[in-house]
């Protein structure tokens, strides 16, 4: 939701990523290739020119806006990569997510930049310089080159954007001075307007703002007038605020292919770290993550990991993924790894009452155990007995997948003793010499207890008896009233 940003004491930070087109593509390159001179080229009206290049290429004299032929003439071994705008924007969104930890008010500038409003974060970071330093460290750890500019409004911050990362906040007067001293050639204006500035003898923004507005509006168009008004805090600059997306989707491409499971773990770790940034920004926990391992040709392998929600750190997510990965049949070579998650909860059960002295760590330990068993043995290996409101024993007690089931209030209708073990299928009992026989002779010691069920689909009436064998083991038998056949249905233990 855009909010008026014309408050004079706002402090806007403009982050510019000059090498973003290059740094988006670098992680996909093999290491030995990344150390060579590389330039990203962009096409503009039939001419291809250099957009940005790495330091190795700059050493050869390559610089932005050189034409491709000139660049190749300067450095014959220059690697040329076409610009990938879509990936670039995705990466910019990721960076916005990363900056979301530093300020809640972020606007994405599609031309490799981000605006952050930081006046509200003064107390949290105990000073602006600490905030700027932490932000700088974080961006460096991400491996991205960033420069910044600070101003009282977004446009001013962008205008005074420097060539390095400033970690000290200048005073308000200095900010104003700096803005007014800006050369007009940096102003966002057309070539004709720039020509006009020259003809008028205007050099800095100070000269421009010194002129009466009415005189200016006669010479320049409305767009420039609005821009000047916004620069001068006379009119608000409205731009949509950045919001974390509703689902997480990220991928890593490996054009040269990954052939064994061990080498998958590193890109998986990177993806999970991104996921954790996302979760942290949204203040939520995820319940399920989906992995997809795609070969160049053929069917991708998929893997789902169910989480009870207590884990928000990438290391335990990686451990669970690794356990499940052991059981997965992978394509021979994996070209692309995708991580997806769209099931989030605010706070998982058992974490709600996070009091200092409660046993929330026990609940967490339970969840972690269930998660790791799920991952290693598969979901089908785990179950939990559930009590149902039903008369027939096999329906009164079923197995369900473990989850956060509510505590069932039980009221036991049956007074007779009930067995601890139930046979999944009632086993038929033979009768030999007027004696029941299942593995060994059984004799009845008490009963019957009549149970009826399913009267709506072929009534079942059973008389349940307690029987024992010569060793003292007790069994739960029943006789169907319709066909008078005997079955063992359970064991006391």
């Amino acid at each position: 939701m855009p909010k008026p940003n014309n408050r004079a004491n706002d402090i806007w930070l403009y982050l510019h990523f000059p090498l973003l087109p290059l740094e988006t593509l670098l992680p996909q390159l093999p290491r030995e290739q990344a150390a060579k001179p590389i330039a990203v080229i962009d096409q503009y009206r039939n001419t291809q020119s250099v957009l940005c290049c790495n330091s190795q290429a700059s050493a050869w004299g390559i610089e932005p806006d050189l034409s491709v032929s000139t660049a190749l003439a300067l450095c014959p071994e220059l690697q040329l990569l076409p610009r990938q705008s879509e990936q670039e924007q995705q990466y910019l969104q990721q960076l916005a997510l990363l900056c979301y930890r530093f300020s809640p008010i972020i606007t994405v500038h599609s031309d490799c930049g981000l605006w952050l409003e930081i006046s509200g974060c003064y107390k949290l970071f105990k000073g602006y310089s600490s905030l700027l330093q932490q932000l700088h460290t974080r961006l460096q750890a991400q491996g991205i080159t960033a420069v910044n500019g600070i101003g009282n409004n977004p446009l001013a911050a962008q205008l005074v954007c420097q060539t390095d990362f400033e970690t000290e906040l200048p005073s308000t007067r200095q900010l104003r001075q700096r803005l007014l001293d800006t050369d007009l050639c940096h102003l966002k204006a057309s070539a004709r307007q720039q020509q006009n500035f020259k003809q008028l003898g205007l050099k800095t923004l100070r000269d421009l703002l010194a002129l009466p507005r009415s005189a200016l509006s006669r010479r320049f168009d409305a767009a420039l007038m609005l821009y000047i008004a916004q620069l001068n805090n006379d009119k608000p600059f409205n731009a949509p605020r950045f919001q974390p997306a509703n689902s997480f989707h990220d991928l890593i491409q490996n054009p040269q292919g990954i052939f064994n499971k061990e080498s998958l773990l590193f890109p998986m770790k990177t993806l999970l770290q991104n996921l954790c940034h996302y979760l942290m920004a949204r203040h939520c926990y995820c319940q399920e993550i989906k992995w997809q391992f795609e070969p160049l040709i053929g069917e991708p392998a998929q893997m789902r990991i169910q989480l009870s929600g207590s884990q928000n750190n990438w290391s335990s997510l990686l451990m669970l993924s690794r356990l499940q990965l052991e059981r997965l049949e992978l394509p021979r070579s994996v070209e692309q790894i995708v991580l997806f998650s769209d099931q989030f909860i605010e706070a998982p059960q058992g974490m709600v009452n996070l009091d200092l002295f409660g046993d929330s760590s026990d609940a967490q330990q339970c969840n972690e155990l269930i998660d790791s068993l799920n991952a290693r043995l598969g979901r089908e290996a785990l179950s939990q007995p559930v009590l149902n409101q039903d008369y027939l024993p096999e329906q009164a007690s079923t197995l369900a997948t473990p989850g956060n089931q509510a505590e069932t209030a039980f009221h036991n209708r049956v007074k007779a003793p009930q067995p601890v073990w139930l046979l999944t299928e009632p086993a038929p009992v033979q009768i030999r010499n007027q004696q029941l026989h299942w593995h060994q002779p059984l004799s009845i010691i008490s009963g019957p207890e009549r149970l009826c069920g399913n009267w709506w689909q072929g009534e079942q009436q059973r008389d349940y008896y307690l029987a024992c064998d010569s060793k003292g083991a007790r069994y739960w038998l029943f006789r169907e009233t319709s066909n008078r056949r005997w079955f063992v249905h359970g064991l006391f233990s």
Binding site: D362, A363, Q365, C366, E368, L369, I370, L373, R376, L377, E380, A381, L382, S383, Q384, P385, V386, L387, N388, P393, A396, S397, L399, P402, N404, Q405, A406, E407, T408, F410, N412, P417, Q418, P419, V420, W421, L422, L423, I431, Q434, Q435, L436, S443, I444, I445, S446, G447, P448, E449, C452, Q461, K471, G472, A473, R474, S482, G490, L491, F492, S493
Partner: protein, 236 residues
Amino acid sequence: MTKPEIISSLLTRQDTWRGRSRRLPRQTLSTGHQSLDLLLQGGWPAAALTELLPQQMGIGELSLLLPVIREHGSHSHLCLWLDPPYQPYAPALSATGIALNKLLVVRSKNAREWLWAAEQSIRSGALLLAWARPQAPSYADLRKLQLAAADSSSAAFLFSPVKALATPSPVTLRLELESQEVNQLLLSVRKMRGVAAGMQLQLSLGESYKQRTQLTQLPADRHHGYIDISTPRLNN
């Protein structure tokens, strides 16, 4: 080497068990039966693996543990049943006051999974009830579990067939269970750390049904087709 030398060299070894040394397991869990608590000098060992060897399924081997399971679940700890022989019957467990949502039944596909799941469960502080797979776990496997239990101070119970008595076991407590009569359990201590084996205890788990009913004496099903409340019930 002379005989006393052999003995003294054996005694200097760390892992030689000396029957006399009264180094008892410090923590215990009450079994819920006074006489059994007395026999086990306090109850089930809390940070150890206990092996129960019933002569046969169904003689009451699980009833022995129900109080411990109930106690454990009431503190919202998980209780894990690894490879139980049959399906646990929810109404009966629920009637004894066991929290069903704290029970977890796990099925393993092979011995490796069995051992892994057992160790994970012990290490995460859950109460483990494991039933040995048909190919019995090796001494080394059991020792691994025993050490895990000692490390994480959680109790673990293993049900093995009685033929496993022929092989040695590293567990802290080994109990053989037999029964001649209904609800009458005879417990024999086969191994217990700090105490000589061989003690026995007759434990009554409930009423002993003496009366047997012949098939011919069963009530005839006179009113077939609807529930008959007047059917005479045989009591014992």
